[in-house]
Symmetry: D2
Subunit: 219 residues, 4 copies
């Protein structure tokens, strides 16, 4: 089980255009060692291009609709067709109803990463067998205060509770992870890696920051 | 003022993949005569690829957020960066708040096509000076019952009301347009073209259907 | 454990005014035997008046906000202050995010009835320990096709799955229950009663219909 | 045209219970002079009780649905049945789609007060002929920074623009109004009164604050 680093591009100015592509090239290069898995979660418009550069690219969300008359919606079929290797769902900035997460997971042929805000939500989501669950207390997202330091018990409680129902789903830590040390702490608490965003995407030197995380997290 | 034919790909199975690209190639070919303008409104995931084939491609919607921490959202900046020539907004399947339409229009450097369901909504939208307004009574969308036949007064009322406030915005007719004759009728009622979807996207022969519309509508 | 009959007033014309009050008076009278529990789920505007007539009155939903600057929202505190004995949450016509259900349940001093559309959603909700869970496959709501006949396995699966996680929460059956016999069937499948709406609220004789259910269900 | 003071109860702790009723009694007393009109906008659960105390009571919002199968929704019919003299719509904390505002206004037999965030939105809303429009730049709501001082041109622009389309709708000023002087200023800028909330509802002495406003604003 190698460590997993998910970089959520969000909708930052760096989420599209040249920098977005540079980050993808660097992620591809760093992943090639096989000592770490780097997943990029990108906006719908960027999936096609970024997945050509770095295969391990997820779309940031899809809409809970079936193919048909739905203007302005992105379906799981479109995501798959665009080259997405997986789909991120239920991020605190794009929450979905439980029944909609269930419907999307049922249809998805690609990997699924479902976020949860509490240990109970993580346990509830684990009943649906996603590939990955990320625990992210929303009050810490983007703060630079790592959940692994501020509320370590949320991580350990999540691991304990989820494992009562599901022994296979990968569990990651998110929210406030700003340094490689925070990531190491998250792994020591029993999760297999981290979900980060601003730490890389808003860094003065995004590529350098990515390398820093890779160095420390690689096994 | 050449006639305008907008084809809304919606989220039909034909909205992505090979057929989506064939339709775009045909649209590009038909547009080259200069006797008709064909705009394709495509899903966020398809903008980059389709706009490479047919320049006159719109994104089906964007989210009313500024660049930043917004997972799973598509911004107007992403749309522009992906090659969109314009953005469709406020379709009855993806309605937006008036203040959000205003905010997006203020930022947009590309063309804007805003849908409206009633003559009053069209007039309200016209105060914001979009490039195009499409009047689409939602109860007729996808029915095959053309608004131009079922409720011609909605079209004429819209034209009259909008022109009190705005003399420049292009006005199109939508909802239930299934044959080229419906399109001609819509133009006789004072609008500059039509917004269609299922007529082409769900046709047994989408390319043939597109040609039919082009033949009749071209001047 | 006496049988439970929940009558959801929804927003039918009978949900407010004189008929609404008559139904409440009849429910109060029928409940007084102690052989059945009748819960009325009423709109926010009606809670105060109906709960004066029939003590066992729930509000149909509350908003997931804390007290403060929230125009047009109904808080759990308002519901409690108005005399509600409980709150119905997550009905398929008013779905809530899982984290919001959790937040409301944490604050609620009154009873809670949470709806679920699938056995998995019911299990997920049971982790939050609501007073009651109602399983309601949305495709049958309002159809008159009782879930207890059309999809009995959904009920038995729900009971089995929920009981793995929670042995105390009461489980009810909803969706398509239109006759007392449907209710009996639902109880034979292992649930403690039913959640109905149109069967009574759209009946030509709502009071008579209520009596019918009470007769058959009472023990 | 007497001055109008709208007090939006929002969902503050004072919005229900004994204080809510005391404020209503004081509003009723102060209004009886005929020198000022005081409208109270209250939560759905409170309409029945507050309107018995002070006739000039509005509900804070209604849902854009017709009577029928809509659990957890409040219809205009319920509002009317509960004693509401009017309905507040489209507050920045409960925005509605333009087409939904139009649908509600078409059905409403009671007065309507529609909020707007920009001069253009106010003009757009004025095409629908509500009884009252309130201009409220959302960035100032609850700040204590009165729009009448911080952005007086928003008020004057609104009055000018609305009056091009509608000469009858009453126009009020909202957002950041915290003192009676702010209200006077708003009236000098051409509006007929103000919409306030925290100034009274979060005051140490809500009744005293209400009296202060009434003293200064009365003619």
């Amino acid at each position: 089980m190698i460590p997993i680093l998910v970089v959520n591009y969000k909708a930052y100015p760096t989420s599209h255009g040249k920098i977005a592509e540079s980050i993808a090239r660097k992620a591809s290069e760093l992943s090639s060692t096989g000592k770490i898995r780097i997943i990029l979660a990108v906006p719908a418009t960027e999936v096609y291009r970024i997945s050509k550069i770095h295969e391990d690219t997820y779309i940031q969300s899809v809409d809970p609709v079936t193919e048909g008359a739905h203007t302005g919606h992105v379906t799981i079929e479109m995501a798959e067709d665009s080259g997405a290797k997986g789909v991120l769902l239920n991020h605190s900035e794009k929450k979905l109803l439980y029944r909609d997460i269930q419907a999307i997971l049922k249809k998805a042929k690609i990997e699924t990463l479902v976020c949860a805000e509490t240990p109970e939500e993580a346990a509830a989501v684990s009943l649906l067998n996603p590939t990955i669950i990320a625990i992210e207390p929303p009050e810490l997202i983007g703060t630079g205060i790592p959940v692994s330091k501020a509320k370590p018990e949320i991580i350990t409680d999540t691991v304990k509770l989820v494992r009562q129902y599901n022994t296979e789903t990968i569990i990651l830590t998110g929210a406030g992870i700003s340094t490689p040390d925070d990531a190491i702490k998250a792994m020591q608490l029993g999760t297999q890696g981290v979900l980060i965003a601003s730490a890389v995407m808003k860094a003065r030197d995004p590529l350098g920051k990515l390398v820093e995380f890779e160095r420390k997290m690689s096994i």
